[in-house]
């Protein structure tokens, strides 16, 4: 029931762009994106609700296609501070009939000078 993320890892030079994809086999109520730096807790970036919306946060934006059960995170003009592991969180209906937030395997992003 966990979403699938791709790529698993990416290395960028400062100023380059990257796209991280997330797909689910289950219907999605919402998609969350988090970034986790080594030894720290995940930090919330943004949430996308049903409706195919797109959101932006500085030079980081995301889209959500609920029909395809997919989301993408776009990082433009990457900065050194963008380095970390990015997790896609999907709010899905569990077998218990309750919604819960499950996470993908993460994408390790390294931005080099």
């Amino acid at each position: 029931q966990q979403p699938v993320q791709s790529p698993q890892a990416v290395i960028l030079r400062e100023g380059e762009d990257a796209v991280i994809n997330c797909s689910s086999s289950k219907a999605l109520y919402s998609v969350h994106w988090y970034r986790q730096k080594h030894g720290e807790a995940p930090v919330f970036l943004m949430i996308l609700l049903k409706g195919g919306e797109q959101k932006g946060h500085d030079k980081i934006s995301a889209s959500f296609n609920e029909k395809k059960q997919q989301s993408s995170l776009y990082l433009t003009a990457s900065q050194l501070s963008y380095s970390g592991t990015y997790f896609c969180g999907t709010e899905i209906l569990m077998d218990t009939g309750r919604r819960a937030l499950t996470f993908g395997s993460g994408t390790r992003l390294q931005v080099q000078p």
Binding site: A41, R98, L101
Partner: protein, 114 residues
């Protein structure tokens, strides 16, 4: 800054011991979660709760148990710790549903069972 706290931050314990990992939040959130994460790896949902006296098991089979007697408190217990339980445990909380279901994470408990 998130008002969710986990204790202890680090714990080294012997095989067979009973342990309880504490998680408390002061945001009045109904939803709370426990995730297990090996270093640099994915977050696995092991337990979640929708409110007092409401707990469910997550995707990853776990030998741990949880309780939710008070809204702000969601402890996780291992009755008999084993080396395979060595991992980081992250607690999170969020509002029930809607546009504000952002999950706030605690700093985690890094557990080592020797």
């Amino acid at each position: 800054e998130a008002d969710i706290y986990q204790t202890p931050r680090y714990l080294v314990i012997g095989t067979g011991k009973k342990i309880t990992l504490e998680c408390s939040q002061t945001m009045g959130h109904d939803k709370m979660y426990w995730y297990q994460q090996d270093p640099g790896m994915e977050l696995h949902l092991i337990h979640y709760s929708y409110g007092v006296n409401s707990t469910e098991k997550g995707d990853l089979s776990s030998e741990s148990t949880v309780s939710r007697i008070r809204t702000e408190h969601f402890p996780l217990t291992l009755e008999s710790a084993r080396p395979s339980h060595t991992s980081q445990y992250l607690c999170a909380s969020s509002e029930y549903f809607g546009a504000n279901t952002e999950a706030f994470f605690g700093q985690g408990t890094r557990l080592t069972v020797v």
